[in-house]
């Protein structure tokens, strides 16, 4: 899966050489890592959620989940735009990026189970709870361009969490549906733990004041929220430190097999059409 077409035309290649950006300084590398973690999570999570379009249980739940996916794409836009201010191009961020360079948590890349509405509900609950903590830890960031954007993203998160919790509550009240939730918790919880795995520049992210909370503290707070909530709905949550962790951790750029399929699917049009520049939806700056 490389960028080469069949060589049928002699039109200028899409991947024409671009001047290389200067190598980022350490603070830039830490900022880049922080932004890629945020952006990749949002983009990949949203990409998976769109698979529910026309398949969700009702028209209303379909629209609600699609709208949540759009919100998350919008958040990804915020963070990828900041990366472009650091010198990355849109193609480098998304369309022509090596799948082995992505740093999202494996939770968001997994394919949904066949009858996976319970999977979607548990996944969005685990993810959105983590996202709120993560954004709150960025409210006081020393990275000014980031601070401006965090509030907007946070304002949209309440709905996401209300939506996930409402569904959890209703599915948990039915024995069959609760069994599906349990299966989803068993499948997803080990992968969700990777949300809080550190990257190579974690120390610099903290030393520069980019994020005010440590990943360990955020993980503890997340567990303090999700474990009692899920248990309150009659679900069994594995002991976090005893759980068998998947080999792929996501944050270290290792991924599950599901990721390769997903990445190939969402970049297919870009490769086939061979854009000079990627199409961009209108953003806040457009």
């Amino acid at each position: 899966m490389n960028g080469d077409a069949d060589g049928v035309t002699d039109a200028p290649a899409a991947a024409s050489p671009r001047p290389r950006r200067p190598r980022p300084r350490p603070a830039g590398r830490a900022g880049g890592e922080l932004l890629f973690r945020l952006a990749d999570d949002e983009f990949v999570h949203a990409e998976r959620l769109t698979e529910w379009q026309i398949y969700a249980p009702t028209l209303e739940s379909d629209l609600a989940l699609a709208n949540i996916a759009q919100d998350e794409f919008g958040h990804a836009r915020l963070w990828y735009d900041l990366l472009q201010e650091l010198g990355y191009t849109e193609e480098e961020c998304i369309w022509r990026r090596d799948p082995d360079d992505w740093t999202h948590a494996t939770l968001v890349e997994l394919a949904f189970a066949d009858d996976g509405w319970g999977d979607a509900v548990v996944r969005t609950y685990l993810y959105d709870t983590a996202e709120r903590l993560r954004l709150e830890a960025l409210v006081d960031t020393s990275y000014a361009p980031l601070a401006d954007r965090v509030g907007k993203a946070l304002a949209e998160e309440d709905y996401h969490r209300d939506h996930a919790v409402s569904w959890l509550e209703r599915l948990a009240s039915d024995d069959d549906a609760r069994a599906r939730l349990q299966a989803a918790v068993d499948d997803l919880f080990p992968h969700a733990l990777s949300l809080f795995a550190p990257g190579a520049h974690e120390d610099d992210i903290r030393a520069n004041g980019f994020r005010r909370a440590s990943l360990a503290d955020m993980r503890a707070e997340w567990l303090d929220t999700v474990v009692p909530t899920l248990e309150g709905y009659g679900l069994v949550v594995p002991e976090p430190d005893d759980v068998e962790r998947p080999a792929a951790r996501g944050r270290d750029r290792t991924h599950t097999d599901d990721w390769g399929d997903l990445q190939a699917a969402f970049t297919a049009t870009h490769r086939e059409v061979d854009f000079d520049r990627p199409a961009r939806l209108r953003g806040e700056e457009a």
């Binding site: 209303e60 629209l63 209300d162 409402s166 209703r170």
Partner: protein
């Protein structure tokens, strides 16, 4: 279960019926209505109302406005009047407003006692 949705654009406006949503209960109806009926429109407030709670009377049940000629209700008499007459009408209305205000004040002061 179907919930009828009413959207208010600005504070003080009436809530106007904009459609409905399927939802198992009020909380979910409120969540769904936000997406389906407010995400692209200026919205200050939404109401969701169980469809079965809506009382209806339609043209089969009622002859709205009656069936006889109600032309006498059109106050055409006043279309062609001189200004002195209009002054008389205005004075009379002002008197009635004043009387109504006094009644209201009296009721309020009685209520406070």
């Amino acid at each position: 279960m179907i919930w009828e949705v009413f959207r208010q654009e600005k504070p003080g406006d009436y809530h106007r019926h904009v459609g409905n949503v399927h939802a198992p209960d009020r909380d979910m109806a409120k969540l769904f209505a936000q997406i389906q009926h407010a995400r692209r429109m200026q919205t200050n407030s939404l109401w969701v109302v169980p469809q079965e709670e809506v009382g209806e009377v339609d043209t089969e049940d009622a002859a709205f406005g009656g069936r006889t000629d109600k032309a006498y209700r059109w106050a055409m008499t006043y279309n062609d009047i001189d200004s002195s007459f209009a002054q008389e009408v205005e004075d009379s209305e002002a008197e009635q407003r004043e009387a109504a205000r006094k009644r209201r004040e009296q009721l309020e002061s009685e209520g406070q006692r």
